[in-house]
Amino acid sequence: MKVHILAFGITKDIVGGSTFEFQIEEGSNVGQLKKHLQQQYPAFEDLASLAIAVNSEYASEELVIKAADEIVLIPPVSGG
């Protein structure tokens, strides 16, 4: 299943763009997606943290991803 991912901050630099597509198995959850992303982009492992938002909410590792979901990489935030 192909998912569409948005990247912000340093993750945009790591993946080389603000959006990209990524192949995951049907029924994968957020934890599995994150693991695959870290395999593809080892620089993610150097970050202080990497959260994933699904449809504008922080997602737990257990959340199962659907093809239409808006998936967003959230490296350490630094607003304020």
């Binding site: 912000f8 340093i10 935030v77 607003g79 304020g80």
Partner: protein, 138 residues
């Protein structure tokens, strides 16, 4: 009343104050975050803020709602700027009105502390010889 704004234009303290003033308020605390000219001894030229806008707004709204549950808040405004900011410019303003002053300080501090932890906004510090995404690495 909760007033959340993510703006590409300069923030104005007067506007936030106007939003939170209330005839039954005795104390208003306003936090203003400004761009510092240096970080760890290194001269900063400017900052660039970007955000995941819909979620940034909803997370700021959540902070305001949580604060309103914890303290007797009359009004709270959270205005955050995005885009390029020069030294001394205002990145964020949080204003909170409460009947008595102690709660306004506590709620305002809670709001800025939480904002820095949860709201998807990222800042890049631009130096004379490079740039860095703040807090990205341990």
């Amino acid at each position: 009343m909760i007033d959340i704004q993510l703006l590409h234009t300069p923030l104005q303290v007067e506007k936030c104050l106007k939003r939170v003033r209330h005839p039954a308020a005795g104390g208003i605390d306003i936090f203003v975050g400004t761009v510092r000219d240096q970080t760890r001894g290194k001269k900063v030229v400017r900052l660039e803020f970007e955000s995941y806008e819909p979620m940034a707004i909803s997370e700021m709204k959540k902070i305001a709602e949580r604060a309103t549950e914890k303290w007797p808040i009359q009004n709270i405004a959270i205005h955050h700027r995005v885009g390029t900011l020069e030294i001394g410019e205002i990145a964020v303003i949080i204003a909170v009105s409460t009947p008595h002053r102690k709660a306004s300080f506590e709620a305002c501090q809670f709001a800025i502390d939480t904002l820095k932890e949860t709201v998807p906004i990222w800042k890049k510090e631009i130096f004379e010889d490079g740039e860095v995404w703040v807090a990205a690495h341990p």
